[in-house]
C-alpha cells in the first residue's frame, strides 16, 4: 500500500508530510495499516466536524493507485472525527516518518 500522509495543525501548528510504502515497514505494521486504512473507515472519518474543538490534528491522506482498477483516493479529516483504530495506525506511520527524518538530521 502506497500513500501520502500529511499531518498538520495541533497546538504546534506545524505540518509534516511524506510518501510511504507500507511494504518497506515491518510486516505487522503494514498488515495493521492495510486493515485500518480502508475506504469505508476513512469515508466515515470525513464526517462533519465538531466546531468546538481546538488545536486538533488534521490529516490529509492519499492512497495511491496500485492496479489498473484503482484510482487515487483522497481523504481529509481531523482526529476528532476518525475512529481510534485509524488514528492509532496513523500515529505509528507518523512516527516512522519522524524517526527517518530525525536520523538524517
Amino acid at each position: 500500500m502506497k500513500l501520502i500522509l500529511s499531518c498538520s495543525g495541533g497546538v504546534v501548528g506545524s505540518r509534516i508530510q511524506a510518501q510511504l510504502d507500507t511494504a518497506e515497514l515491518g510486516a505487522e505494521l503494514a498488515r495493521r495499516a492495510e486493515a485500518a486504512l480502508q475506504p469505508e473507515k476513512l469515508a466515515q472519518a470525513s464526517s462533519p466536524e465538531n466546531p468546538l474543538r481546538t488545536d486538533v490534528l488534521e490529516y490529509d491522506l492519499t492512497l495511491l493507485p496500485e492496479g489498473e482498477d484503482t484510482d487515487f483516493r483522497h481523504y481529509r479529516f481531523s482526529e476528532t472525527s476518525a475512529a481510534p483504530e485509524v488514528l492509532e495506525v496513523l500515529d505509528e506511520l507518523m512516527q516512522e516518518i519522524i524517526r527517518l527524518r530525525a536520523r538524517r538530521r
Binding site: G10, S14, P48, E58, Q95
Partner: protein, 359 residues
C-alpha cells in the same frame, strides 16, 4: 467582572434563509439540539435554500455576578489516564482532593489546571471555564508517542510526545493553560476557529497561557520570557519553545519541525488554507500587540493589559471578529476602564499601530 453564556433563544422554523455564517455560529454557540440541527442542515446540502427558520442571532454572553468569597471556591479537577489509546476519557486516576499520584503527568495536569483556575478566579473573578464552576477534566497519556495537546469542547487532552520532536505536553504550564483558555473562549461566546477570528482564539489562549505562568511565578512583564511551550521540544530540536510573544517567528528553526512561521506585523500576514487559515501562524500578530502593551505598561501583565484583553473577549460578542474588530474593542475598553487620555489607552493604540493595525 465575570460572564457566562446563556442558552440561545430561537423560534420555530419559518421563513428566512439561514446563511452559512449563522449555521457556524449555531454550531459554535448553540446547545446540543441546535448544533445537531445545524449539522443536519449542512449534511442535507440545503444550507442556502431549505433552512427556513426564523432564528434570533446567537445569544450574547451575559454578565454574572462577581464571584464573592473566592477563598472558599475550589476547582473540581479530574484527571484520567488514556493508557496510550486514542479513546477518551480513559481511567480516572486522580480526582479533586486526592493525594499526589505516582505519575508526574497526572500531577502536572492536575496542578496546571489548578494554576489556571486560580488566575481566572483571583484576577478576573471567573469561576472556572464557564463562569459557573464547570469541572476541569483532563486526560493524559493519550495515544502512543502522540505529539499534541488539544481542547475537545469538553475536556483537555495531552499526549506524551514521541521523545524526538516533543516531550510530554504536560511539561509546560503555558500549554496546559492555553488549552483551558480555549474553554474560556468557548464559554464567552466563542470565536469561529478559522482565519482571523480563529487566530484571535489562538492568541487569547497563548496570552492567558503565558499569563498563568507569570501569575504563578509572580513575574513582572519585563522578567518573563514570553514563551509558550518552553521545555516541550525534544533534545535534538533546534529551538526554545512552540511560540514567542516577544519575538514571533523565532521560537524554533529545525530540520524536521521546520521554522516557526509566525509573523509579528500585518505586512507579513500569511494567507493559507491549511491550519484553518493559519490560526497558529497569524496569532503572532495579536500576540505581539499584547506583549508590547504589557511591556510598555510595566508591572504585572495580568493586571492592566490582561484586564483589557479579558474584557474584550467578554464583550466583543462577534464570533467572526477580525483583528481590527478586536483592536477597536481593546481601545474602547482601555478608555472606559482607565480614561480616554490614560497611559493604558495611549499604549493600547500604539501597540496595535506597531503591528500594523490602525485604531
Amino acid at each position: 467582572m465575570g460572564y457566562a453564556p446563556r442558552p440561545m433563544s430561537y423560534a420555530h422554523p419559518r421563513h428566512c434563509i439561514l446563511p452559512p455564517h449563522m449555521i457556524e455560529a449555531i454550531r459554535l454557540r448553540g446547545d446540543a439540539g441546535l448544533r445537531k440541527m445545524a449539522d443536519g442542515i449542512e449534511q442535507d446540502g440545503q444550507r442556502f435554500r431549505a433552512a427556513r427558520c426564523e432564528l434570533m442571532p446567537p445569544a450574547a454572553t451575559r454578565r454574572t455576578q462577581p464571584v464573592a468569597a473566592r477563598a472558599r471556591i475550589k476547582p473540581e479537577r479530574k484527571v484520567y489516564d488514556a493508557q496510550q489509546r486514542r479513546r477518551l476519557p480513559g481511567k480516572l486516576v486522580r480526582a479533586e482532593g486526592d493525594a499526589r499520584s505516582s505519575d508526574a503527568d497526572v500531577d502536572r495536569a492536575y496542578d496546571g489546571a489548578g494554576a489556571t483556575f486560580k488566575l481566572f478566579l483571583n484576577v478576573y473573578q471567573r469561576h472556572s471555564l464557564d463562569g459557573e464552576g464547570m469541572p476541569l477534566v483532563s486526560s493524559v497519556h493519550y495515544g502512543k508517542s502522540y505529539n499534541n495537546a488539544f481542547w475537545d469542547g469538553e475536556q483537555m487532552v495531552y499526549g506524551d510526545g514521541d521523545g524526538i520532536l516533543f516531550r510530554s505536553f504536560t511539561r509546560s504550564l503555558s500549554v496546559i493553560a492555553h488549552e483551558l483558555s480555549h474553554g474560556v473562549v468557548q464559554f464567552s461566546g466563542g470565536l469561529v476557529y478559522r482565519d482571523q477570528s480563529g487566530a484571535l482564539s489562538e492568541s487569547f489562549a497563548d496570552v492567558f497561557g503565558v499569563l498563568t505562568l507569570q501569575y504563578r511565578r509572580k513575574q513582572a512583564a519585563h522578567e518573563a520570557d514570553w514563551l509558550v511551550g518552553k521545555g516541550l521540544l525534544g533534545p535534538d530540536v533546534r529551538g526554545a519553545a512552540l511560540r514567542s510573544l516577544k519575538a514571533p517567528g523565532t521560537a524554533y528553526d529545525d530540520a524536521v519541525l521546520g521554522k516557526d512561521p509566525q509573523p509579528f506585523h500585518m505586512d507579513d500576514f500569511v494567507y493559507t488554507s491549511s491550519d484553518n487559515g493559519g490560526v497558529h501562524i497569524n496569532s503572532g500578530i495579536p500576540n505581539h500587540a499584547f506583549y508590547l502593551l504589557a511591556q510598555n505598561l510595566c508591572g504585572n501583565a495580568w493586571e492592566r493589559a490582561g484586564h483589557i484583553w479579558y474584557d474584550t473577549l467578554q464583550s466583543i460578542d462577534n464570533p467572526h471578529a477580525s483583528f481590527a474588530d478586536w483592536a477597536d474593542r481593546t481601545l474602547e475598553l482601555a478608555r472606559e476602564r482607565f480614561g480616554a487620555g490614560s497611559t493604558e489607552a495611549i499604549q493600547t493604540r500604539r501597540s496595535w499601530k506597531l503591528v500594523g493595525i490602525a485604531v
